[in-house]
Structure formats: C-alpha cells, structure tokens
C-alpha cells in the first residue's frame, strides 16, 4: 500500500494557502451542483473544517453537474459528499446536517461560521438565506444566474452590498431551461476563489 502524507497531497499547492484555510469555519448551504463542486475546490485548496447542509438524496438527474457518482444514487447528499471529500483529504473535519434550512434554523446552524456559501437551487431559498446571514454580519458568497448555454466568461463576481458576494451573469434564463456542468463548475470555482480572497485580505489586514 502506498503511504500518502498530507504534505504530499499539498506539495503542489500555492505555499501558505492550506495553512490559511485549514482552520477556517466555512458553511455550505446546499450540496447540489454548486455545493458539491465548491466543497471539492475548498478541500483541494486545504480547507478542512466545513459544515455541509442539504435535505436531498442523490438522484440520477444530479449526475450531469454534481460531484457524485452513479453508485451513490439514493444516498443522502451530505453523507456521500463526506465520503468523496475524505477520499481527497482523509483529515477533513466535516459537520453534516441532513435537513431543510429555513427561517427557524439558518442562524443557529451557521452560528459558528464566518463565511457561508449559498448553494441552493431555488430563487426564494437563495434570497432567504442570503438576506438573513448577510444581515447578521457573516460573509455570504451566493450565486444567481448560471442556467443556459452562454459563455462561462459571463459569470462575474460582484459585491452589491456589504457582506455579500454574488456570482452570476445577471440575465440568465430560467433554470428550467437546464443547467450545464461547465457553467455550474465555474460558478462554484468562483465561490471558492471569493472565499479564499476574503481570508487572504483578512490575513493581510491583521498583519498590518
């Protein structure tokens, strides 16, 4: 058996990034196309302390864009994602909640999280979580507008109000027209970068 160390896993990472992200508490609200790909990106950069929340089980229709596999159909998303993330870095520490997020539990579940990624599918859920958490002075990294076939270059990172980063194209069609893996993956990668950027800036301001 090949023995792999954590240092081996991160030997090609940008120096200092794993150390920066390793102990940061990051919440992921929704483990679908955005949440599953975002979690993979964060863990590959060195994040180890994630809260994963989702109500759903994996369905066949998820596999066109979500980071799951055919043999995981029927599993709870939070548990399947835990399995997949531990296969990348066996040292990740994950808190999983298999439940529906709503007005009664959003604040409590993400209470100890400095940054929360909004990774829902529905517009009303996106607005609910984003409004509640941005008002409570957490950084929310949300996505709005990624359906259709337009170039992934159109997915921009904007900061419209305090405590909020929104990624999207601003004018994408209704998601009932379908969602494609490249656009969902780029949006999730932008979320991962926006979270990294937040902690890089925070680190710089502390060192001044």
């Amino acid at each position: 058996m090949i023995t792999t160390t954590i240092e081996d896993i991160f030997s090609r990472n940008v120096p200092g990034i794993r150390e920066l992200l390793k102990d940061k508490h990051i919440g992921i609200a929704g483990c679908g196309g955005l949440g599953s790909n975002l979690a993979v990106n964060l863990v590959r950069m060195g994040a180890e302390n994630l809260t994963l929340v989702d109500l759903d089980k994996i369905e066949a229709s998820n596999l066109n864009r979500q980071h799951y596999f055919a043999d995981q159909i029927g599993m709870e998303k939070t548990q399947a994602l835990r399995t997949n993330l531990l296969r990348i870095n066996p040292e990740v520490k994950l808190t999983c909640h298999q439940l529906r997020l709503d007005e009664s539990n959003i604040a409590k579940i993400f209470d100890d999280r400095e940054v929360v990624a909004e990774c829902f599918d529905g517009a009303e859920n996106k607005a609910l979580l984003t409004g509640m958490l941005a008002a409570s002075a957490k950084l929310v990294v949300a996505v709005s507008g990624l359906a259709g076939t337009a170039s992934a270059e159109k997915l921009k990172i904007k900061r419209p109000i305090r405590n909020l980063v929104v990624i999207g194209d601003g004018d994408s069609p209704d998601c009932r027209e379908g969602l494609l893996s490249p656009r969902v993956s780029v949006a999730a990668a932008h979320q991962a970068w926006a979270i990294l950027d937040h902690f890089l800036k925070e680190g710089r301001s502390c060192n001044l």
Binding site: S144, P160, D174, R176
Partner: protein, 63 residues
Amino acid sequence: MQLVVNGESKDYNINDLQSLLDHLDIKAETVVVEKNGQIIARKTNCQLADGDKLEIVRFVGGG
C-alpha cells in the same frame, strides 16, 4: 420622490418598498434589499423617503 436604485437616480411616484418592487415587477421573496446601508428583513415593507439609496439584489434559480 427621488430614489437611487442600484446606483441609478430616478423619480418614483411611490411611498413604500413593496410599491417599488411591484412597480419594478419584482417578487419580494426573490430579492435581498438594502436601504441606506441596512438590509431590510425579508418580506418586510418599509416607508421610503426622498433621497433613499436602495440596492436590490435579485436571485434567479439554478445551482
């Protein structure tokens, strides 16, 4: 009254947030609204005053 909505200053013939959203044909449940730097709690109406600055962040589905 004069309102600055998403950076654009315009004259509106309305008095409250819900009327503004109706006027703009926006469903209140799909937006986060900030008025003069404060987020307005979801589905809460509020009076608007001349010169108020509003940021309306719209969400569309997909994820």
